[in-house]
Symmetry: C2
Subunit: 343 residues, 2 copies
C-alpha cells in the first residue's frame, strides 16, 4: 500500500493536494458529537471511555474524509495521571487543585501514570484498527509550559500570573515542574506510539505569553528534549510542534527543536512561513477558525490562498486554532472541497 | 532649554541613558491613585474630571521622575463621544451597548464629539502647564481595530467572535466602522496636540488576534492613515504605534505605517527588534509586567539586558504591556534605578 499522504508530507514531500485535518475536528459543532457527549455524562468520562472516545474520533472522518484522525482526549489527562485533582465544571472549563510551589509537586507521582492512562492507550489501539487505510492516526499531548499553566493557575487564565510569578521568583522550583512534565510527556507520547499512533502533535497553546528568555527555557528546550527522546525511541514517527503565538520565535523553534512538522497559528504570514520555516519543517495551518465559522466567499478565497502560498513545499492544511462550537458543519465541507479542488 | 529626552529618542537619537516611562504608570498599584479613585466615584468620572485626571497623571511623575507622563484617560472615550452607551461595572471592566452591523452605526455621530471630549483636552492643557520642564506629555488613543472590538462585542472578549464575524461576512460594513474610528482618532489626537500633547501613542492592544490579511486592512492601513494625517497637521509631534502581538508583522507595520516609535510587546526578541525594526523607528519596550511584579534579581538582570540590546539605537525603556494592579511600588523604583544606573 502507498504511504499515507499526511506521513509523506511530514517526511518532507510536496504533494499535489495537501492532506487536510482540522484541530478539534471531533467536537461540539457536530450534532453526532453532542449526542455521544450527552450519553457519556462528564467530559472526562468521554475521554476515559474507549467506546465513546473512539466513536467521536471517527465521526468527522466519516463525515468529511479527513486525511488524519486525532485521538480524542484532553491535554490535562497528564497532570490527572500524575495525581493532581481535575474536574470539568459544566460551561466553565477545566478546574484543578492549584500547585503554586515546589512543595506542591511532592504529592505528584509517576507510579500509577500508565495505569491511569490505560483507557487512552486502548482508544488509540482500537482507532488504529478501525480507521480507513488512508487515514493517519495522530496522537498528542500538551506541551509542558501550557500544561503547567493549568496546573499552577488551577484552570484557564488570562495572564498566567501565578505560573509566571513562580517561574520568575523560583526558577529552580518551576523548572522541576517543567522537567516532570517533559519526562511524563515523553512517556505518554511513546506509549501512544506503541499503541498505534503514527504521528504526534505537541500543543503549546500558551507559548505566545512567554517573553523570549522564558520561551527558550519553557517552550523550546522541552520540545527539543521531547523530540530527541521520541526520535531515539520511534525514529519513523514524526512530531508536529505547535508553539501558538510564537511570532518571530517560530524560526528559532523550527531551527532548534528538531520537530518534523510545525503548526502555524492564525497570525503567521504564509509568505514568511514558506521562506523562513518550510525549509526546516513541514508546515501545518493556518486559517482563522472564525473565518471557517463565517464561511462564504472569504473562506474559499483564503483557503485557496494558503494552498498556493504554502503548498509549494511540504504542507498539511489545517486551521490556526481549534474549530469553534458554533461553526456550521456545512462550512467544514466547503473548506475540504476548496482544499481538494482548488480551482 | 535642551530638548526633552523622550522627544530626542523619537527623533532617532541614541541616548546614553534611555528615557523611561511605563504603560499604566498611573494606576491601581499606587495607594495615592486608589485614594483619588475612591473620591472620584466611577472610573469615567475620573477620566472626565480634569482635577482628578491631572492629579493621577502626576502621581507617578512625583514618585519616580519618569521621563514622560501619559494623559490619564481611557480608549473608550472615543466611542462614548460618538454616542455609544458606555459604563464601567465595578470589577467587570467596560460595558457598551454592542453594535453588530452597519445599521447599528447610524446613531453614531461626530456632531458633539469635541464637546464631549472637552474635559480630556482640559486635562491635557493643565498637565502641560504643571509637568516638570524635562517631562514629555504623551497623548493617546486606541487604534481603530482595538476600539472596534469593544464596540462590537459590548466589552472585553476572548476571541473577538462578533467583530471578526462581521468583518468576514460584511467587509464593507465593518470597513465603515474602521473608517469612522480612523477619522475620529485623527480628530481626537489632533485636538490633544492642540491642547499641549508633545507625543502620541496609538494602542492596538488586540492587533495580534488578526490574521495577516486582516492585520493589513484593520491594523496597518488605519495606522498609516492616522500617521499621515498627523504628520501633515503637526509635523513636529511623533507618533508611537503599538500593534501588540503583531509577531513578524511588526516589520511590515514599521516599514509601511510611518510611525516614529514602535511599542514592542513582551514576546518580541530584542536582538531581532534591534536588527529588523530599529533602523525604521525608535523602539519602546518590552519587559513583562509580571516580571516587574515578581521583582528581584531576574527583574534587574532583564532590565539591563534590554538596555544593552536595544539601547544601541533610539530607544525608550518601557514594559511590553501595562503595569498590573498587584505590582509592589518598590519594584517600580528598582526598575527605574536599574535603567538609569545600569551597572
Amino acid at each position: 500500500m502507498a504511504e499515507k499522504a499526511l506521513l509523506r508530507a511530514l517526511k518532507g514531500e510536496t504533494l499535489a493536494t495537501p492532506p487536510v485535518w482540522l484541530m478539534r475536528q471531533a467536537g461540539r459543532y457536530l450534532p453526532e458529537y453532542r449526542a455521544v457527549r450527552a450519553q457519556a455524562g462528564g467530559f472526562l468520562d468521554l475521554c476515559y471511555n474507549p467506546d465513546f472516545a473512539v466513536e467521536v474520533t471517527l465521526q468527522p472522518i466519516r463525515r468529511y474524509g479527513f486525511d488524519a484522525a486525532i485521538l480524542f482526549s484532553d491535554i490535562l489527562v497528564v497532570p490527572h495521571a500524575l495525581g493532581q485533582k481535575l474536574w470539568f465544571a459544566e460551561g466553565e472549563g477545566p478546574k484543578l487543585e492549584p500547585i503554586r510551589d515546589a512543595e506542591g509537586l511532592k504529592p505528584l507521582s509517576r507510579e500509577r501514570f500508565h495505569e491511569r492512562l490505560a483507557p487512552v492507550y486502548e482508544t488509540v489501539r482500537r482507532l488504529r484498527r478501525e480507521l480507513p487505510a488512508e487515514t493517519t492516526l495522530i496522537g498528542f499531548a500538551g506541551a509542558p509550559w501550557t500544561v503547567a499553566t493549568y496546573m499552577v493557575e488551577g484552570g484557564g487564565s488570562k495572564d498566567f500570573a501565578h505560573a509566571k510569578l513562580w517561574a520568575y521568583r523560583d526558577p529552580a522550583g518551576f523548572q522541576a515542574l517543567i522537567d516532570l512534565l517533559t519526562d511524563s510527556t515523553i512517556e505518554y507520547l511513546s506509549a501512544q506510539v506503541e499503541a498505534g499512533a503514527e504521528a504526534l502533535q505537541l500543543f503549546d497553546t500558551w507559548a505566545g505569553a512567554l517573553p523570549p528568555e522564558a520561551f527558550r527555557l519553557y517552550a523550546i528546550e522541552p520540545a527539543r528534549r521531547i523530540a530527541a527522546a521520541l526520535l531515539a525511541r520511534h525514529p519513523a514517527v514524526p512530531l508536529i510542534g505547535f508553539p501558538r503565538g510564537a511570532g518571530m520565535l517560530y524560526a528559532e523553534y523550527a531551527a532548534t527543536t528538531g520537530v518534523q512538522g510545525l503548526g502555524l497559528d492564525t497570525a503567521v504570514p504564509p509568505d514568511w512561513a514558506a521562506a523562513a520555516l518550510q525549509p526546516k519543517a513541514c508546515l501545518q495551518g493556518n486559517i482563522d477558525p472564525l473565518l471557517l465559522a463565517a464561511g462564504g466567499e472569504a473562506l474559499v478565497r483564503t483557503v485557496r490562498d494558503r494552498v498556493i502560498r504554502l503548498g509549494g513545499g511540504p504542507y498539511i492544511f489545517n486551521l490556526g486554532h481549534g474549530i469553534l462550537p458554533f461553526t456550521p458543519p456545512e462550512n467544514v465541507a466547503a473548506l475540504v472541497e476548496a482544499v481538494r479542488r482548488p480551482t
